[in-house]
């Protein structure tokens, strides 16, 4: 078992070593009975908007990195497949 807080603020990198930024939130799908994790919100862009600040210019956040792409969680890093 792991906790939500242990995933937040970790560095997200691809298998190829490309840094995607820090994981600032976890996206999930809420139904009547369950709450399934679907992705990682990553990177600096969109961070301000995420926390409710008015958007500056035309910077939009990335779509979240899908949970299926996660390869391993080790140390303070989350490694994901190169799909982008």
């Amino acid at each position: 078992m792991r906790t939500l807080s242990s995933l937040l603020r970790r560095q997200v990198v691809t298998e190829g070593g490309r840094k995607l930024g820090r994981c600032y939130d976890i996206r999930a799908e809420l139904t009547q009975t369950s709450l399934k994790v679907t992705g990682l919100c990553v990177g600096r862009q969109g961070w301000a908007e995420h926390f409710g600040l008015p958007r500056l210019g035309h910077i939009r956040g990335h779509d979240p990195v899908p949970w299926e792409a996660v390869v391993s969680i080790e140390g303070d890093r989350i490694v994901v497949r190169d799909i982008q």
Partner: protein, 408 residues
């Protein structure tokens, strides 16, 4: 008709409840040091507290969140915890200063021994909070605080140079001692925008179950209550400038502030001023007492409420009892209430950004706020004030040290 009457009574109570020991000390001292030059800073401070109170009230009405709920949700657990600790320290200092102020006023009125009055003040405050319904507390202390209007009469009676007063409302810096000027500006902003006021205001809004129907009332409360409260601040500064500046007096005691009404109006002025200060600082003691308990309860998530019976929110009740006892003991050490007030106001400024940022963020969150999210005016003012608060927070302590608490 009845409703308008109710609103008017509420506003009267808000005016009387606006001034606390920080406003008394900084406004009179600023007047005694710089005359009317800093009146414009009070205006900025009052518009600031109006802006953020309105935002807090709106957030509470729409999302049922009080300020410290928002703090923890938005800035995260760690920064939230640090904000909580800072807020509690500042709050305890403010509470101590206010309780000390109550004891000093009681002493000036009765002549009884100081230490006896400290204990008496704490016991009476405790019993009042325990027994009396909060609606009545608000009215009693708010109306009692209206005696402070004697300072408005005193200001007129002292025949200030109204041209200079008018000029004071225009932002300007006209002094050789810019550091001292800046110190007083920071103190006046801090005194007007004290964080405990927004904790208190927003918690009340959640408790009283405000909904979007109450948004108009919220705006009216914030603008008129704080706006007219600011009027008292002007009066205090004008008295400081007209009476003390020309003579080279630096008022260092609460009794000196009361003399500001005594000189132009005689014995009746003195008594009204002392009674007004007594009710104002006693009311503020109760507000800070509750604020300290609100912050902790909201951070930890347990039951709270000034409208609940003491047994209805046990940990909340225990917290304010402990805070009151600690403040009483702190006053007993003989600490100078006026000096402590200056420290409390300056340190409170440091804690302001982490209090006001989450409010600004939640007020912009469309997921909760929907069509009631900040509009252009609220955001322009909100961001403008946030920048001011940041600057003030960074400079407050250096200024305090460089000017040796406004002495040099």
């Amino acid at each position: 008709m009845n409703k308008i009457f109710g609103v008017a009574l509420g506003i009267l109570a808000a005016i009387g409840g606006f001034v606390d020991i920080g406003d008394l000390v900084f406004n009179v001292a600023a007047g005694a040091t710089f005359g009317y030059q800093l009146l414009w800073v009070v205006v900025i401070g009052v518009v600031g507290i109006i802006t953020y109170s309105e935002m807090c009230g709106r957030v509470s009405a729409v999302s049922q969140k009080a300020v410290f709920d928002a703090v923890r949700e938005r800035v995260g657990f760690k920064a939230g915890l640090i904000t909580l600790i800072a807020a509690e320290i500042v709050n305890a200092m403010t509470l101590t200063a206010e309780v000390g102020g109550v004891a000093i006023c009681l002493q000036l009125l009765s002549g009884l021994p100081y230490r006896v009055l400290i204990v008496l003040a704490a016991i009476v405050l405790g019993i009042v909070v325990w027994v009396v319904n909060f609606d009545w507390i608000e009215r009693i202390f708010g109306y009692g605080g209206l005696c402070l209007l004697v300072f408005a009469v005193a200001a007129v009676k002292l025949h200030p140079d109204w041209g200079a007063v008018g000029h004071g409302f225009v932002p300007h810096v006209d002094t050789g001692n810019k550091l001292l000027y800046a110190y007083f500006a920071v103190g006046l902003l801090g005194a007007a925008m004290t964080p405990y006021e927004v904790y208190f205001y927003s918690s009340g809004a959640v408790e009283e179950g405000w909904t979007v129907k109450d948004l108009g009332l919220n705006r009216l409360n914030a603008i008129v209550g704080y706006g007219l409260g600011g009027f008292l601040s002007f009066a205090l500064m004008i008295v400081g400038g007209a009476l003390f500046l020309g003579k080279g007096i630096e008022p260092e005691t609460l009794g000196s502030i009361a003399m500001g009404a005594q000189v132009p109006l005689g014995e009746i002025g003195l008594i009204l001023a002392l009674v007004g200060i007594l009710f104002a600082v006693a009311g503020a003691s109760i507000d800070t007492l509750f604020s300290g308990a609100y912050d902790l309860a909201q951070f930890c998530g347990y039951e709270w409420g000034r409208h609940k019976s003491p047994a209805g929110a046990p940990r909340f009740t225990l917290t304010w009892i402990v805070l009151l006892i600690l403040a009483m003991l702190a006053v007993m050490t003989g600490v100078d209430a006026v000096k402590l007030t200056e420290f409390a106001v300056i340190f409170s400024v440091v804690a302001l950004p982490l209090t006001y940022l989450p409010i600004l963020l939640v007020a912009n969150d469309k997921a909760y706020m929907k069509e009631y999210a900040n509009g252009r005016l609220a955001n322009t003012l909100g961001i403008f004030y946030f920048v001011i608060i940041l600057i003030v927070a960074l400079t407050a302590i250096p200024l305090m040290i460089l000017t040796n608490l406004g002495q040099a």
